[in-house]
Symmetry: C2
Subunit: 491 residues, 2 copies
C-alpha cells in the first residue's frame, strides 16, 4: 500500500484571473476527461494515484485556505495535514509525517513518498511513485529521489548528480540537449544505445552530489555529465523523517508539532534533510513532467484551444481561451494570444508577455470574487459600498457551518433546488422563491436536500469575510434526509 504526501502550496498570482488568493493553479479545471468535463491538477494527481492503488493512503499537506477547495474537489475521504501558517517544506513534511503516524497510525517502518501536487505528468509517473516507495521500503538508502530527465539546460531547477557505475555507463548517460552544440555521428550512436538502454537509466543509482540552480551554461555541462532535475519527489521510511524531526524540531507528537508550528524555522526539506544525507539514491523519470506555473506552459497542457463559452474567427492562430464566465468570449484575428475570464477579471496577453503577470496582479489587491467551499461554490455577483450580492451553489447533502455575523444582515432567496434552513434554532424547508432574512447576530445555516442554488445579499457598513462566528449544532443535520416533518415540528 502506497503512503503518499502531496504537497499543495502555491499562490494565486501567476494564473490570474483563474487563480486568486484561495484558488492556486492546482485547483483550476483544465484537463479534459473522457466524459467531456474537466478536472484540475490536484484531481488528476489524486485520481491517478487511486487508480493505480485503490488503497493508497493519500495525505495532502496544505494551508488552511485550501482545505475547502480540496474537500470540494476530492471529497471528504482524503487525509489533510493542515499547516497553521506558511513554513517551508521541511516543517510541512515533518507535520504531515507526524499526522500519518499519530492520526492515521502508519508504522514508522512503512515507506512514504512525498510529491508536489502540481507538475503536469504522464501516466508512467504514477508507476514511478510506486517504485520509489518500494525501493525506500527496502531500506538500502535513507532517501530515494526521483530525478527528472532534463529537456533543456534550465536555470530554474536543482540538479542531481548520480554516481556513474560500470564501464560504459558514463557513455550511456550522455545525451543531447536542445541548445547544446550538435553532436557528431559517434555521439549519435551513443544516444541510440542510450535509448535502447532506457531501462538501465531508470535503474537505481547512488547520488554523488547536488547542484542548486546553476546558470544555463553550467546546466548544459551538468546534463552532459548525466545530471537530472530535482523534481522535489522523495521516498523514505516514515521513522527516518520523524527521527530528524525529533532531533531538529523537538517533535514529540503531531499535536505538539501542530501547536508549535508558527515557531518552526522556515527551512526546505532539501536543505534540512537531503543535503545532509549521505545515503541517497535516485531513479530517473524520462516521461512527461512539466512545471506548469505560467500561462504559456498552462495553455500548452490544454487539450482543446478553448474551455468555456468561446468563439474564434478562422483567422486566429495559436490562441487559447479559458472562460469561466456565463457570457461569450469572441476572439477575431489574433495570434499567440491567451484570453481568460473569470469573476475575478479578464486577461488578454501575448503568450510571450504572459510570464510577466505577477507584478500587475499584486498591484490589484483584489477582493476574492469566487471560491470553492467544502459545501460547493460561490461567486460574487455585485459589489456596492454597503452590500455584497453572491450566488451560492450547494451540493445535495452538503451544508454550510452554523454561523452568525456581528455586523451585517443577510437575505437568502432560493432560486433552484430544495433545502432546509436553521435560523436561530428554527428549522424550515425552503424551495425556489422562498426568502430567508437574517439580522446581524442571528445564527443560520442551510443544507441542500437536492442540489441547491441561492442568491445571498449581504448588507452592512462593514462587510468582511472575517466577520463570522461558528457554532456547533446540538443535532447534526441529517444529510439528504427527505423526511423533514419532525424537524419542522421542532420549529
Amino acid at each position: 500500500m502506497l503512503n503518499i504526501i502531496l504537497l499543495s502550496g502555491g499562490s494565486g498570482k501567476r494564473l490570474w484571473p483563474l487563480s486568486n488568493d484561495v484558488r492556486s493553479k492546482q485547483f483550476i479545471k483544465i484537463f479534459k476527461k473522457p466524459d467531456g468535463t474537466y478536472e484540475s491538477m490536484v484531481q488528476r494527481m489524486y485520481q491517478s494515484i487511486r487508480a493505480l492503488d485503490r488503497d493508497a493512503k493519500v495525505t495532502i499537506a496544505t494551508s488552511r485556505t485550501q482545505v475547502s477547495a480540496i474537500h470540494n474537489q476530492l471529497g471528504t475521504d482524503v487525509g489533510i495535514s493542515v499547516e497553521p501558517c506558511r513554513r517551508d517544506t521541511f516543517p510541512a513534511i515533518a507535520l504531515a509525517a507526524a499526522y500519518l503516524h499519530d492520526v492515521q497510525h502508519v508504522a514508522e517502518s512503512e515507506a512514504v513518498v512525498v510529491c508536489p501536487v502540481d507538475p503536469y505528468v504522464d501516466n508512467a509517473f504514477f508507476g514511478m511513485l510506486e517504485k520509489l516507495g518500494a525501493r525506500a521500503a527496502e531500506g538500502k538508502e535513507n532517501l530515494v529521489l526521483m530525478g527528472i530527465k532534463p529537456t533543456e539546460p534550465s536555470d530554474k531547477y536543482g540538479y542531481i548528480m548520480p554516481e556513474m557505475g560500470g564501464n560504459n555507463s558514463q557513455k550511456l548517460t550522455e545525451r543531447t540537449v536542445p541548445g547544446v552544440n550538435k553532436v557528431d555521428s559517434a555521439a549519435m550512436k551513443q544516444i541510440e544505445i542510450a535509448e535502447e538502454n532506457i531501462e538501465e537509466n531508470t535503474a537505481v543509482r547512488r547520488v554523488r552530489t547536488f547542484k542548486e540552480k546553476p546558470d544555463v551554461e553550467t546546466a548544459r555541462k551538468y546534463i552532459a555529465e548525466g545530471a537530472l532535475w530535482n523534481g522535489g519527489i522523495f521516498a523514505f521510511k516514515l521513522g527516518y523523517v520523524l527521527d530528524i524531526a525529533r532531533r531538529e524540531l523537538g517533535y514529540t507528537d503531531y499535536q505538539d508539532l501542530f501547536d508549535r508550528y508558527e515557531t518552526l524555522p522556515k527551512i526546505s526539506f532539501d536543505y534540512a534533510v537531503v543535503e545532509k544525507e549521505p545515503r541517497i539514491s535516485v531513479m530517473e523519470f524520462s516521461g512527461r513532467w512539466e512545471d506548469i506555473g505560467t500561462w504559456n506552459t498552462f495553455t500548452d497542457a490544454m487539450q482543446d484551444s478553448t474551455i468555456g463559452d468561446a468563439t474564434m474567427s478562422d483567422s486566429c492562430e495559436d490562441v487559447h481561451v479559458l472562460n469561466e464566465l456565463d457570457v461569450p468570449v469572441l476572439v477575431m484575428g489574433m495570434k499567440d494570444t491567451i484570453v481568460s475570464a473569470s469573476p475575478q477579471g479578464i486577461l488578454v496577453s501575448s503568450k510571450e508577455a504572459s510570464t510577466g503577470i505577477k507584478p500587475y496582479v499584486e498591484k490589484m489587491n483584489q477582493r476574492i470574487m469566487f471560491a470553492e467551499k467544502s459545501w460547493g461554490v460561490f461567486h460574487v455577483l455585485d459589489v456596492e459600498d454597503q452590500s455584497l450580492t453572491i450566488k451560492a451553489n450547494i451540493k445535495a447533502g452538503d451544508h454550510m457551518t452554523y454561523h452568525s455575523h456581528e455586523r451585517r444582515d443577510e437575505v437568502w432567496i432560493i432560486i433552484a433546488g430544495r433545502g432546509r434552513t436553521i435560523v436561530d434554532g428554527m428549522e424550515q424547508i425552503v424551495e425556489p422563491g422562498d426568502v430567508v432574512t437574517m439580522q446581524a447576530g442571528c445564527k443560520h445555516t442551510i443544507e441542500a436536500i437536492t442540489d441547491l442554488k441561492l442568491i445571498e445579499v449581504q448588507l452592512g457598513k462593514d462587510i468582511r469575510v472575517s466577520d463570522k462566528k461558528r457554532y456547533v449544532l446540538e443535532e447534526p443535520l441529517r444529510t439528504g434526509a427527505e423526511g423533514t416533518g419532525t424537524s419542522e415540528e421542532k420549529a
Copy 2:
C-alpha cells in the same frame, strides 16, 4: 429657432458587446467630457445643438426600443417621434414632420434640418446645421443638402455633384485625395488657392446630379470633379415634406400616419424625395465628419486608450480597451488590438479583423444583458433555467411603470438609497435591507426618493420580457417628495 430631426436608427451588432438589441452605437458613452465623465454620440449631438441654440426644437425619430435609452440619456424634455416599426427614411422623416406640425405645432413655413444622430463631427458641424436651416428658410430651393468633403475615394457613400459656376470655380474645387495620383506643382497652387477660398467652397451651389455608391476608381474621378459625399443631412420647409407625404403616403395627420405606419412602403428619403427634386442646393462641410460604425473607427474616436477598469503593460501598442464590467481587464504584450467587455460578453479582436464581427454576433442570438430604461439602468447578474437575477439603478425622482407579470414571482432587495413601493395599491417606504415579494399577478412599482439600487430576483418557469401588463396609477407618484407620511397612511 432651429427645428432639427435627428434620425436615430441602427442595430446593435457591429459594436458588440457594448451594443445590443436595445443599445445601438449612438448610446455608447465614449466621448470624454471636461469633467472626466463620458457621453454618447446622441448626447454629444443633442447637447452641442442646444449649446448653439438654447431654444432649438430637437425631435428624435426612432424606434420604440430606443425610447427608454433616449429619455435616460437626454431627459424627458426631448421630442420623440416613435416609429411603430422599421420602415426606411422617407416614412420616418414624414412621420417626424407630421409630429412637428401636429404635436409640436411648428408652422409649415418653418425650416427643418434632418440629420443622422451618429456621425462623429467637430463643432463647426453644428454651425453648418444652422446655415442649412437659414438657407432653407429663404426658400430659394426646395432642398438644401450638406455635402461632406471626401477624405478618400470610398465606395460606401453616395456622391453629390454640384454645378460649377464662374470661370475658375472648376479649378478651385479640384483637390487632392489620398490614393489619387500625385498632383504637379501647378495643381498644388490651385489647392492652396482652394484652401484660401474655403469660404467660397462652403457657399451654396446648385446640385447638378447624384451618383449612388460608385466603385473606387469612379469615386476618384468624381472627387476630382468636385463631388461631395452625401451625409444624409438636408434642410427644407416643413410644408414641403408634408405636401409630398400627402401625395405619396396619403397623409392626413400625425395620428393617421402613425396608425398606418406598418402599411407604408420601405423607401428612402433620397429615393422618394431627393432624386426627384430639381431645385436642390448644397453646402460643403470640410470639417471632421466620420461614420463610426465599426470597432476600428470607433476606437479612433476615443480620446484615451482605455475606458473603464483596465491596465496595460508597457509593451502594448495601439491597444484600446473599453470595459463596462466592474472587474479589471489586464492586457499584456498586445498590438493593434481591441478589447471590450460588458454584461453581454467579451470581445478581443485585431483592429483589422474587427470589421467582420457582424456574422459572429448574429449567430449568438443573445438575451439582452443590460439596458437603459427611462428610470435608470439594469443589468443581468445571473441566469438560471427558472430564475433571473438583475440589478437595477433608479435615479432619484424616477419610477418604474405600475405593472404586473402573469407568469413569474419577483423579489426586490433594496441595497442602496431610499424609495417608495406600491404593491397592489399598498404604499411603503423602503430602505437598504428591505425585502419586497411580489407574487405573479401582483401589481407593483417603485419610485426612487434618492438614487436607489436594488437586486431583483425573477422566479418562474417561463420568464419573458413580454410578460408585462401596465396599469395607470390613480394618483401619480409625487416625484422626489420626502413627506410620505400621508402616503403610508393609505396602505
